[in-house]
Every structure is written in structure tokens, then in C-alpha cells.
């Protein structure tokens, strides 16, 4: 068949498809798949018969655009995201319970060990913190220290911004460095745990319980679990790369990165919630510290119960 006749017979179809791509009502949506298959056939025929390059290029571009439209994932809406956070995320966490256990032990294990060690031998604090750093922490939580500079709501917003930038950024970094055979989380989790445990023990030794525990209890559950779970995401990715099993290494890495990123997404949201509490609730001095600790414990319980129980029914 001559190219002219071919074009004449099929031009209408191509223009209809092009119009549909541009949101014009040239085709009903039900008609598109059949028309698209027809177009693919035309493209193959045009190539085989060596019709002019311009025509082949035109058909191929139209086919590519339709391919993207037809096989593209429907955008995950906001509702979808909330649904995932509420139900899918706890499921993913439970699905990776071994790695959650590993990263939890790396983080909280070091934390508790460091805490107990420094409680028993207060001088060990100087192995990790220089005297100036130790003194700075003490001064930060000393109830007699006047709050420097601005106070009230504006200062809260400043700290909130800082926590978002700093803490979620750290989550992202822990996750990404997991690609290096998991080395990132294997280093950052114990290191942060060590640091946290030492500081906590040091401040307890100095008798600053009310300010310190009052401050950290509110947001600690969200922030620490968020850090552990972003570490889990990084470990997942690194492990998939190192231990592909029956898949090709690349396919395994892709799958691991996908799962890891889902964990990270939830972890980042937890860290965001932590930043909200840390900025606007934890520094509040009007609520008695024992109430704040009680609220913090309730958060811990609720968070753990949610991760253990949510999303079990609706599969």
C-alpha cells in the first residue's frame, strides 16, 4: 500500500487519539484501548514498509505518549497516602520485623547500655563528650538558665523549623546511606543511641530529671521510633543489594528500595509529628513535668500498639 493511501485511511484515528491526549472529546475513554492497539499496528506496519521517517516518528511519538498515559500509575491521592500511613505502614513495619528488631536493638540497646554504664560510672561521660560539651548540655536543661533571646510563639516556630530541617534530614541520610551495604544505619543507629544514652545518664547524674525528662518525653516516642524505622528502611535496601537471593541484583535492589522508601515515608511523618511536639509542647514550662512524662508514656504505648495492631483486618 502506498503511504498516501495509508495516511488517508488512518489519519482520522491518529488525530482522534492525539485529540484525546489533549483532553478533547474526540474519543470516548472506552474506545481508546482498541484505537491504541490499532495505532501500534500502524506503527509496526509503517516501520516494516519503510514509510517516510517523518511519518514513523510521528506515529512513534503518539504511541509513546499514549503508552505513558495508558500504563501510567494513577496518581496516589492524598486519601491514598493517609490510608497507607494509617494501615499500610504498620503492616510494612511488621513485615520487616526482623530488621526492625535489628535496628531497634542497635539503637535502644546501645542507648540503655550507655545509660546504665554512665549511671554506674559518671566519669565515663568524658569518653564521648568533652567537658565543654557536657557542661553545655547541663546548662541547656538547667531550670535556672534564663531562656536567651526571643520567647514564646516565635521561638517555638524557630525551633520547629530547626527540628524539621535537622531531624528529618538525618532520617533521609540514614536511609540513603543504607545503600552502602547497610553501613550507614549500622553506624548511625548505635552512634546516636550511644550519644542519647550518655547525655541522658549525665543529666540524670546531675539531678536535672524534671527539665530533661519533661522536655523529651512528649516527642521521644515519635522521634526515636522514626529514627529506628528509617534505619530499617536503609537496612532493607542494603540487604537487598547484598543478598539478592534468586533475583538479579538489580531487581532485588529495586524491590528493596521500594520497600525501604515506604518505611522511610512513614518514619519521616513520625519525625514530623515529633518536631511538632518538640517545637510547641515539649518546651512548655507551664505544664508540670510529671504530667508531661505521663503524656509521653501514653504516646509510647499508643504508638507501639498502633504499629502492632493497625491494618490487620483490612487486607
Amino acid at each position: 500500500m502506498r503511504q498516501q493511501l495509508f495516511e488517508q485511511q488512518n489519519l482520522q484515528l491518529w488525530e482522534d487519539l492525539g485529540g484525546w491526549l489533549n483532553q478533547q472529546p474526540t474519543l470516548a475513554t472506552e474506545e481508546v484501548p482498541a484505537a491504541y492497539r490499532q495505532l501500534c499496528h500502524h506503527l509496526a506496519v509503517a516501520r516494516e514498509r519503510h514509510y517516510s521517517p517523518a511519518l514513523v516518528e510521528r506515529l512513534q511519538q503518539l504511541a509513546l505518549r499514549l503508552h505513558q498515559r495508558i500504563y501510567g500509575v494513577k496518581g496516589e491521592g492524598l486519601q491514598e497516602a493517609f490510608r497507607f500511613l494509617w494501615q499500610g505502614f504498620p503492616r510494612e513495619v511488621r513485615g520487616e520485623w526482623r530488621l526492625v528488631l535489628v535496628s531497634g536493638l542497635l539503637f535502644f540497646g546501645t542507648w540503655v547500655a550507655a545509660f546504665l554504664l554512665v549511671r554506674a560510672h559518671p566519669n565515663l561521660v568524658h569518653l564521648l563528650l568533652s567537658p565543654e560539651e557536657a557542661a553545655k548540655f547541663v546548662q541547656m536543661y538547667d531550670p535556672n538558665t534564663p531562656v536567651a533571646g526571643a520567647t514564646g510563639a516565635t521561638r517555638d516556630v524557630m525551633m520547629f523549623g530547626f527540628y524539621i530541617y535537622n531531624n528529618i534530614g538525618i532520617d533521609f541520610q540514614i536511609f540513603a546511606s543504607g545503600l552502602l551495604a547497610g553501613v550507614g544505619p549500622l553506624f548511625f543507629l548505635p552512634f546516636n543511641g550511644l550519644h542519647g544514652g550518655v547525655v541522658m545518664a549525665h543529666l540524670t547524674n546531675k539531678g536535672l530529671t524534671s527539665t530533661f525528662y519533661g522536655f523529651i518525653s512528649g516527642h521521644s516516642s515519635f522521634e526515636l521510633i522514626g529514627a529506628v524505622l528509617s534505619g530499617t528502611g536503609g537496612l532493607r535496601m542494603g540487604l537487598s543489594l547484598m543478598h539478592p537471593g534468586r533475583r538479579s541484583r538489580l531487581a532485588s535492589l529495586r524491590e528493596g528500595a521500594r520497600k525501604g522508601a515506604r518505611l522511610l515515608f512513614g518514619a519521616a511523618v513520625l519525625t514530623f509529628i515529633a518536631a511538632c511536639f518538640e517545637g510547641f509542647w515539649s518546651g512548655n514550662t507551664e505544664v508540670p513535668w510529671k504530667v508531661k512524662v505521663a503524656v509521653g508514656l501514653v504516646f509510647w504505648m499508643a504508638l507501639i500498639l498502633w504499629l502492632l495492631l493497625a491494618g490487620r483486618r483490612d487486607r
Binding site: L5, S52, P53, A54, D156, F172, A176
Partner: protein, 228 residues
């Protein structure tokens, strides 16, 4: 398609092959540079504006900085059909390796893994990975299963120049016929002198040179296209 071209061919479920053209390191570096300029300009303007608000402005700026640093490319890649402003400027687009548009998950992965691609500084790992992989993928692209491709030029529909169809006197292979059609479609974008010069190459076929030869070649193209 020459073997020397960087073309990735994907086969669709309909059994037809589509061609994608992965973009190399230099053009991607330019796109990155443009994006960086945009981000830092925005951050500087924001800093100037928010400085008046004191600590409140500082907090807002830090949030803005966080978003710009980590999530700017993610947002634009998903909402802008695979194009950050820098990529749009250089006619690049991020898509999945199988030709589909990119979604939130893969975009998040490929952009967070810039941390790894950036090691040990100046995107060295990313550059090495780009040069070692067939489709110019950095580590983040490999993990997310994405490609950065040159955007298709707008599908233009060149018309064959009108000419009296000239029947072929010799048999031509399909490639030769295709070349003649291709020349005829391009000839409108060439000067008359250059067209004639090129048509002279075909004088054994057309039996004429100069303007007459060009007319003959266009006539052959017309014949190949539509017959008598």
C-alpha cells in the same frame, strides 16, 4: 537505528517497539546547575523576606530550606510530568525504565539517593555510574528503576512538496526509497541551492542536474508516497 546510538528500546505489551533516548552526563549536569541556581535564588529571596520576622522567619526559612534541599526535585518530577524546571529548560524528562511516567515512590528514592551519588563529593559516584551503565543511570536511577531521557521534539508534520509524480525506472531497496522520502521532507528546510546540490547526487537516477534534477527527485518522492 545505528548500534552507536544510545537508544533504549522498550517493547510494549502491544508488541511494538518504542525508542527512548537516554540523556548523558553533560546535559544532565546543566539541568542540575539550572535547578541549583533556581533553588538558591529562591532561598536567598526567602531569606531576605523572612529576615524581617526574626526567629519566626528563621524557623520558616529552615522549613523552606529543608523542602528545597530534599523535596524540590520530587515535587516537580511528579507534578511536572518528570520535569524539574532545569530539566524542562534542557528538554529532559525523568521516566520509568519501561516508559511509564514517574510516581512519588521512585522519585523519592532517586532523589534521596543523591546522598550516595554525591559521595565522596562533586557527584563522583553518580558520574562513574552514569558512564558505566548502558542507559546513563546513576545509583539513584538504578535503585528507583528510572531513566532521564531527551524529550521528543514536537511532532511536526512536514508536507511533501507538491510535484508531478515521476515513476521509478529502476528498482530501489526500501532503505533507498526511505532516504528519498526523507530528503523530500527535509528539502523545504534547506535553501534551494543546497537542495539542488544534494539532488545532483541522484542525477544517475533522475537523469538531470540542477533545478530540473531536484524536480525529478521530488517527483520520485511523490510517486513513492502516493503512486501515480
Amino acid at each position: 537505528m545505528q548500534p552507536i546510538d544510545t537508544v533504549r528500546t522498550i517493547e510494549t505489551p502491544e508488541g511494538v517497539e518504542l525508542h527512548l533516548r537516554p540523556a548523558g552526563p553533560v546535559v544532565r549536569l546543566w539541568a542540575f546547575f539550572v535547578d541549583q541556581v533556581i533553588v538558591w535564588m529562591a532561598l536567598m529571596f526567602a531569606a531576605a523576606g523572612l529576615a524581617m520576622l526574626g526567629p519566626l522567619g528563621m524557623g520558616l526559612w529552615l522549613i523552606f530550606f529543608f523542602l528545597a534541599q530534599w523535596l524540590y526535585p520530587v515535587f516537580f518530577e511528579v507534578m511536572g510530568a518528570g520535569r524539574t524546571p532545569g530539566k524542562r529548560w534542557l528538554h529532559l524528562r525523568v521516566i520509568m525504565a519501561d516508559g511509564r511516567p514517574i510516581g512519588w515512590g521512585p522519585s523519592l528514592i532517586r532523589n534521596l539517593l543523591r546522598v550516595v551519588d554525591g559521595l565522596p563529593g562533586a557527584y563522583t559516584v553518580g558520574l562513574v555510574s552514569l558512564l558505566l551503565t548502558r542507559n546513563f543511570q546513576r545509583i539513584g536511577d538504578l535503585a528507583a528503576g528510572t531513566l532521564v531521557v531527551h524529550e521528543e521534539a514536537n511532532a511536526f508534520v512536514p508536507m511533501l512538496p507538491a510535484a508531478e509524480p515521476v515513476p521509478l525506472t529502476q528498482s530501489l531497496t526500501l532503505e533507498e526509497q526511505s532516504a528519498i522520502l526523507s530528503f523530500a521532507e527535509r528539502s523545504q528546510r534547506l535553501t534551494a541551492a543546497r537542495s539542488e546540490e544534494l539532488a545532483n547526487v541522484l542525477s544517475p537516477l533522475s537523469g538531470a542536474r540542477g533545478a530540473e534534477g531536484l524536480g525529478q527527485v521530488l517527483g520520485i518522492a511523490r510517486f513513492l508516497w502516493g503512486g501515480r
